[in-house]
């Protein structure tokens, strides 16, 4: 479940590159002190390709993807975990890439909208969004689709939700379940009904 667990002890430990380099960020009033420079090497797999970066520790996973790897499919909406536009899949799980540091994902397998399908070979959810017109401006769409892909896996794995009637029986792919499970993705254009149509088709919900 946790990326950092996979490679075990060998990757752990101090990761401050260039310790001892003076940084001009000492707190006002405090004596100027040698501070460890805050760049950190990190390597992870993005859409099946190994990527190695040396980043300012402050870089979010979202900014690493967009600004450093030029994978601009993943969008920045609120940058505070409130909209879901930045949703990517990390080690099989959907997360908000704006609220996590890239350096916390050493060894992780990351899938973005670019890795789900290609224009000539769309992922079934991408195709369903096209078919059902599941967008207007399209800004929330990559996040909606990444979220929906991982959400359907969560449902298949039997994870409960807020609207599940019991905690002990397997949840079913009902409209109410799909809506609740997609509530972390806001659509400013309000294309929800078509988004719902696209997802329920792939989920196999019968009318």
């Amino acid at each position: 479940m946790q990326a950092l667990e996979e490679n075990g002890v060998s990757r752990r430990g101090v990761l401050i590159a260039g310790a001892g380099v003076i940084a001009a960020t000492a707190a006002p009033g405090a004596e100027a002190q040698p501070m460890p420079q805050a760049t950190v090497p990190v390597s992870f797999e993005v859409n099946g390709e190994r990527r190695e970066l040396t980043l300012d520790a402050r870089t979010t996973l979202l900014d690493a993807l967009r600004e450093h790897l030029r994978l601009t499919g993943t969008k920045k909406g609120c940058d505070h975990g409130q909209c879901g536009a930045c949703t990517v899949i990390v080690d099989g799980r959907r997360i908000n890439s704006c609220l996590t540091l890239a350096v916390m994902h050493e060894g992780a397998k990351i899938t973005t909208i670019e890795g789900l399908g290609r224009p000539d070979r769309l992922h079934p959810l991408q195709a369903a969004f096209v078919k059902h017109d599941g967008y207007q401006c399209g800004y929330c769409t990559p996040g909606q689709i990444c979220s929906a892909v991982a959400m359907l896996d969560e449902l298949k794995a039997g994870l409960p939700s807020h609207v599940s009637e019991t905690l002990t029986e397997r949840p079913q792919a009902t409209d109410a379940e799909l809506r609740e499970r997609m509530s972390g993705n806001i659509c400013r254009c309000g294309a929800y009904s078509n988004i719902q149509e696209a997802i329920r088709e792939v989920a196999g919900v019968r009318a």
Partner: protein, 316 residues
Amino acid sequence: MKAFSYQRATSPMDAAAKATVTPGARFIAGGTNLLDLMKLEIEAPTHLIDVNGIGLDKIEKTEEGGLRIGALVRNTDLAAHEDVRRDYGLLSRALLAGASGQLRNKATTAGNLLQRTRCPYFYDTQQPCNKRKPGSGCSAIGGVSRQLAVVGASPACIATHPSDMAVALRALDAVVETVDAKGMARAIPIADFHRLPGETPDVETALTPGELITAVTLPKPAGGKHIYHKVRDRASYAFALVSVGAIVQKDGSGRVALGGVAHKPWRVEPADALLRRGAKPVIEHLLADAQPTAENSFKVTLVERTLAAVLAEARA
């Protein structure tokens, strides 16, 4: 965001030791609250210690027949755990009522307990706030206070604790386990873990600097019906206005804890004894010292009606 250095801990004790030697150091778990606040420079640690991957992500049975939940267990995994769903349904329900699927996949047990208030003035760095900047004043008193506390507040701060999970843990009599830099372990009952604001609303818990949460333990299952009702401005992905977590036995006895009304999950044990007499006497006891503002006095009525709905569901 202010610059910081970053380091991975190798063990719980190593994490506590690292935090103690570096002033301004903080632990980072899921990062979903800390990074949010760091972007706004409400939090500005100089050093981050990553506590992911130090073996605190397990859920085990205790010798007493309860459950030990690792500090780094994700909210998703805790809500979905077979034993939790069967024996501590209140905890699953409270977790599933919080945040979104994406956030719960990252959010951890310890991080959830330590998440900070959603008071709008705490977030607005242009405004006075005793919690963010001790001694600067409280903008919420006399300001926008619809979301804020009705009981246990002080003239220094009327913020609420936003966690849903913590309400369930309070009703379940959970215990927070910690370790410090010297390797000393402590067990803090959940009732004593969060503080009331008093004159120091910036001090929110019983933790000492550098002390690491390692686990939360639950006593053996209490049985009964487990119900969590959360009332919010939209049906999902929103914080509680009020919430009620209850365990109700067949004979109508039980326990109840409230969310959204105070600086900590709110439970007054003697109020539990009134449960068989209905929602009104219980809430009268729980909120006996309530001092709501003009904007949030609706919470007193709302929480009583919510408890009445919970008790009706328990009888059904």
